[in-house]
């Protein structure tokens, strides 16, 4: 079983819809939770990160972390065709030296249809 599980999709929604992307994880040591966006043939781009549980909002994007359920979400409001990309969740255990690596989900391919 993978440490981080993410539905690979593909997910296709109409422009303007609210998109919900999710990941589950098994390692209770994870403290940092990140969402990356990756366009085709490009490197991942950091969208947002959250420390521990709670919500964080940045423009049309909202990240939620529920550590009790080991479940994280990314919501995209008023989705645009330019949001079409693969979205990767990533997690890290702590700031202790040697625990800096990110563990990624498989990525969800999202298409926003005009």
């Amino acid at each position: 079983q993978k440490e981080v599980e993410q539905d690979p999709g593909p997910l296709s929604v109409p422009e303007g819809a609210i998109v919900s992307l999710n990941c589950t994880y098994s390692n209770s040591a994870f403290q940092y939770f990140m969402w990356y966006r990756q366009y085709s043939r490009k490197g991942p781009e950091l969208l947002m990160y959250t420390y521990s549980s709670g919500n964080k909002e940045d423009g049309r994007f909202t990240a939620q972390v529920d550590k009790s359920s080991k479940y994280i979400s990314l919501f995209i409001r008023d989705s645009q065709p330019s949001d079409s990309a693969t979205y990767l969740c990533a997690m890290s255990a702590s700031r202790i030296q040697g625990a800096q690596k990110l563990v990624f989900g498989q990525g969800t391919r999202l298409t926003i249809n005009p």
């Binding site: 490197g43 991942p44 950091l46 890290s92 700031r95 800096q100 990110l102 990624f104 989900g105 990525g107």
Partner: protein, 114 residues
């Protein structure tokens, strides 16, 4: 400012040959990471540098893989005696010390082993 840069962007090699991949991190970022992204395995951690030392090499898949970092800046990932299963996108990321949640990725090197 300039982001993480990687070279070459694409590399085609024959099975059994050695290859060197280069990463230039963001100026001032003391932490540097190598990851590999392949269709079947997703995005996987390879090695982490803090300055010129590598406290975590746990992701290197075999002793054919090695990496070094000099001057606390540029890093080189070397794959000896390449195999077809080494074909993947090799991604480099950098961050400030103690901030694994904010890793910024380069565009990657696409390696194809024939």
């Amino acid at each position: 400012g300039a982001g993480v840069s990687q070279s070459p962007s694409n590399k085609v090699t024959e099975k059994g040959k050695d290859v060197e991949l280069r990463c230039d991190p963001i100026s001032g970022h003391t932490a540097l990471y190598w990851y590999r992204q392949s269709l079947g395995q997703g995005l996987e951690f390879l090695i982490y540098f803090q300055g010129n030392s590598a406290p975590d090499k746990s992701g290197l898949p075999s002793d054919r893989f090695s990496a070094e970092r000099t001057g606390g800046s540029v890093s080189t990932l070397t794959i000896q005696r390449t195999q077809q299963e080494d074909s993947a996108v090799y991604l480099c990321a950098s961050s400030l010390t103690g901030q694994p949640a904010t890793q910024y990725f380069g565009p990657g090197t696409r390696l194809l082993v024939l």
